[in-house]
Symmetry: C2
Subunit: 346 residues, 2 copies
Amino acid sequence: MSRILSSLRYPLIQAPMAFAHDTELPLAVGKTGALGSLAGAMYDTAGLEKALARMKQEGGRPYNLNFFAHRTPSADRAQQDAWFGVLRPYFEAYGLTENDIPSGGGRQPFDADALACVERYRPPVISFHFGLPAPEYLQRVKATGAEVWSSATTVEEAVWLEQNGADVVIAQAWEAGGHRGWFLNRHPDSQSGLFALLPAIRNAVRLPVIAAGGVSDAAAVSAALGLGASAVQVGTAFLLADEALTKPAHRAAIQTARPEDTVVTNLFSGGAARGLYNRFIREAGPMNDAALPFPLAGAAAGALKAAAEKQGCYDFSPFWAGQNAGLCRPGSAAEIVERLCGGIEC
Amino acid sequence: MSRILSSLRYPLIQAPMAFAHDTELPLAVGKTGALGSLAGAMYDTAGLEKALARMKQEGGRPYNLNFFAHRTPSADRAQQDAWFGVLRPYFEAYGLTENDIPSGGGRQPFDADALACVERYRPPVISFHFGLPAPEYLQRVKATGAEVWSSATTVEEAVWLEQNGADVVIAQAWEAGGHRGWFLNRHPDSQSGLFALLPAIRNAVRLPVIAAGGVSDAAAVSAALGLGASAVQVGTAFLLADEALTKPAHRAAIQTARPEDTVVTNLFSGGAARGLYNRFIREAGPMNDAALPFPLAGAAAGALKAAAEKQGCYDFSPFWAGQNAGLCRPGSAAEIVERLCGGIEC
C-alpha cells in the first residue's frame, strides 16, 4: 500500500527529467490529479530551495522530488586524458580546448544540503535513481514522513530495494528513455522489456510496483495496469508538454522516432541512458569504454554540446527519449494526462 | 486480414522451436483451436517429409511450418581456428578433438528440397525467420496458397517484410527466447521491448501483427491484444508442455528463472539467441566475436554439448528461454492453451 498512490485521481506519475523541466510541469501535472515530479539532480542548493518554495506556495497537491543516489566518483589524469582523446577532434572543430571543460558533472547527488532541504520542505514523495542513499540519510528522509520510491531494472534490484527500506518500486524497463537506474548489475544484457520486468518484480516483492518504460499512450497505460502495475511513470510523453523546457529540435525528433532510432549511450554523462541517435553517438558510441564514470563524462560532453548548439547544431545534444517516443504528441500537461488516462481513474 | 488468424478459436500461435518438439506438440495445440507450428529447420528432407505426412494424417487443423531463411555462409580456416581456439579448453576437458566436430551447423535453411515438400503438402502457413527466401522461392510458396509470415525485430524490418510479400508480421520483441529473427540490423542496440515494438510496427504496416516475446500468461495475452496484436506467439510456455521434447533440467531451470537470468548469446549457433545463463556463456560469452557465422558455430558447440550431457552436465547446453520464463508452468499443451487464453476467444 502506498498512501500517495492511493490519493491520486490518475495512476500516473510524470517522470522527473533533469534539465527538461522546472517546477511548471510538475505543478501542471499535479493539478490534474496525477503526480508531478521535480528533478532534484539539476539544482544546486539555492535552486532546490527555490523550487521547493514554489511547490509549497502553489501547494495542495502531492508531488515527488527525485534525487540521484550515486556516490560521486573520481577520475585520474590518465582516465581524463583518454576521455578527452575521444572528444579532442570535436573540441578542435568548435574551437574549444580542455580549459573549456567545467569542473563537476552537472548532476548533483543527494547530499547533506539536499537532505536539509527535504527536512525543511517535506515533499510527500522522495524518489531515488541508482539505488538508495546511505542508511542514515535514508532514515532521516523517512522521518520526514515522505514515502521513499526507487527504480529497479532487475528483480535482484527490486528485492534489494524492498530489503533496504523503499516503500514503492519503480520497474524501469529496457524501453525507458533517459538514465538507466541500475545500481547492482550495470550491463545492458541484464535489462528486460516491461512485459517481463513488471510481472517478475510484482511477483518478487510485496511493495507496490510502478511501471516505467514504453508507456506513451492510453493503450500502454491499460496494458501496464493489466500486468499488475499500481501506476505508470511516463517521461517522454511529457517532454512534449507545453510546460516542459524541451528544445524545439528535440520535440520534433521525438515525434518521428522509431524504437530503433533510440539507443542506450554513455557518452553524455558516463551513465547509460536512452536517447535518439545522433552523429556523436554514431561516431563515438553508443557505449564508449573511455567515458568517465557517471556523472563526470558530462562535463566535457556538456561543453561540446553548448558550443555546437550555439551554432544551431544538435549533433552533440542528448535528445533523451524512450522507445515509444513516436507515439507521443504535443499539448498541455493536462491534455497529455487526459490522453494517457482519460478513461481510467484510480 | 489473415484468413488463418480469422479461422482460429484462440489468437495464439505455438512458436516453432527447433529440437524442442516434433509433431506431437503442434498437433496437440492445433486440436485446441490455437495454431501449432512445426520447426522445419530441424529436419533433413526425409524428416520433413515424414513430419508433414504426419500432420496431414492427423489433419483437419491448420498449422504453421517454419523455416530459417538464412543463406548458409562459409568460414575460412583462420575463422575456424579462432572459434576452435575459444572451445579448445572445453574440448580437451571432455576428451574431444577438432575431428569430433561434425560438418554443417545442424540447422537447415529453406532450399529446393524444402520447397518441393511445401508444394506437395501445402501447409496452410509458411513462416520464416531471418527475413524471406529468394523471390522465386517465395513466389512458389505463395502459389501453394500458403500464407507467408515472417519475424521483424525493428520497424525497418517490418516495413521491408510488407514490401517484399509477407502476409503477416510477427513482432519479435527483446523479451523473446530463442533466435532473434533479425535480418537487416543485427545489433542488440536496435532491439525493443514489446511495449514499444508492437505499437510501432502496428502503426507502420497494414498487415496483421502477431506479438512475440514476453507473453507467458493470460495477463500478457490480454495486454498484447490491447496493444494492437492480432494474435500472440508463445514459445517458452510450450517448452513445459508434456508434448514437448524439452529436457527435465531445462524444464526445471525455466520455472525459476528471473528475467535477468536470461541473455542473448551467439555461442551455440553463431546466431544471437536468448537462453538461460550457464557456465559456457559466463566464461566465453555471451557474445563472442570469434563465433562462426550462423549456423556454423553450432557444429563445434553441439559436439561439446553432446559430450557434456553424456556426463550429465548441462554447462554447455542451450537452454533457450524468454525473459518471462519464470511465469511458465508445466502441463499438457491443452492446459497451457487454456491457461493463456481461457478467457479469450477470437
